[in-house]
Symmetry: C2
Subunit: 214 residues, 2 copies
């Protein structure tokens, strides 16, 4: 599959693009925002497209043409304000979902957040972020796309172990960004996780085993 990676320059995005680039079965197309981000992907031999999530649905649709799947790994991050959380994490996701519907790109994987469905667990200083993720997930589920919503625990920069715990309902835990990228990679064409939402943290099962038990 040719996979549009939205948020390719993020930390999870870069891990994931590398895995796709070294794969025999999938090919990445890195959707990035800034010209200066191109060289990293060029050095991997990866195609890029410069498109902002603050742009129009038409622009995102154009970026998506020719792709078979979309991975939404973008986020405004902790350094910007809640206004960008609304524009990127919520409306950027909504526009990407609309673009996938328009282009008939049926397969859509979303990086969400653990507890995005549990309002009672949202700490006050992060509540706006969870609101954005919660509703982006709901929009994806209500679409006609073949979705997989992955809700990682607290993200770390540790090296991946390739072993996780993946379950539908889980309150807490940590996982490395590299392992999240590997979960994305293995989930891409695994029918067991089509139209499923699950939490994932570091654990003791091989990723494929963990996904197949969902």
């Amino acid at each position: 599959m040719k996979v549009l990676v939205v948020g390719a320059n993020g930390q999870i995005g870069r891990h994931f693009v590398k895995m796709l680039a070294s794969s025999d079965i999938h090919t990445p197309k890195a959707m990035i925002r800034k010209e200066e981000q191109v060289s990293f992907f060029n050095s991997l031999g990866v195609e890029t497209v410069l498109t902002s999530l603050e742009g129009s649905v038409e622009e995102i649709t154009e970026a998506m043409k020719g792709c078979d799947a979309v991975v939404f790994a973008a986020g405004s991050g902790g350094k910007t304000g809640a206004d960008k959380t609304l524009l990127i994490d919520l409306d950027g996701a909504a526009k990407t979902i609309e673009a996938a519907e328009r282009t008939g790109t049926e397969r859509f994987l979303m990086i969400s957040a653990i507890n995005a469905d549990k309002r009672a667990m949202w700490k006050e200083d992060m509540a706006h972020y969870y609101v954005a993720k919660h509703h982006a997930d709901n929009i994806l589920r209500a679409s006609g796309l073949v979705y997989t919503i992955i809700r990682p625990g607290i993200l770390t920069n540790d090296s991946g172990t390739g072993k996780v715990l993946a379950v539908e309902d889980l309150d807490s835990g940590e996982i490395s960004r590299e392992d999240v990228a590997r979960v994305l990679f293995n989930a891409l064409d695994n029918e067991r996780v089509f139209n499923k939402t699950f939490a994932v943290v570091s654990g003791d099962r091989e990723i494929d085993t963990a996904l197949n038990q969902l």
Copy 2:
């Protein structure tokens, strides 16, 4: 009908509650956030319930019990940040919609904003507000409720004229808060506007005439 007015202490909310209180056919229940807001409603002989939109769906469900309709006229306002826009204008609306579904309160009227469906018209400094309104409207439309989404133009504090222009597609205009409240009042049980979304600005038609032409 007994009408739960969410955001009853806002400027549109107060106008609307007064209209309901002086009506022979409808009765308001004012949902407000602070104890010090009670006296205004007591002086009108209007029932109040102290419930925050930042609380749980269960709390809003409790506030809604015994009501036949809900009007969502709440907003975090321009003085707070985008984090509150996410929590009140988007998730507060989403929770109120969930509460209406749980209680079987089928009739739901929403105060939205002109151009909430047109991303290309969103000015940068207000874009986060439009994102919240856009998605709150979409959640309401996707619910099973009998909705009316009213999208006023720029709000003024002028006295109401009772005359408006109400059309599905409109880019600009002004309207007084008192006239918006009157549109809400007349729309409550007018089947012509059930499951409709429309813009409203000041104009030259009587409100009932304008609504019946939608």
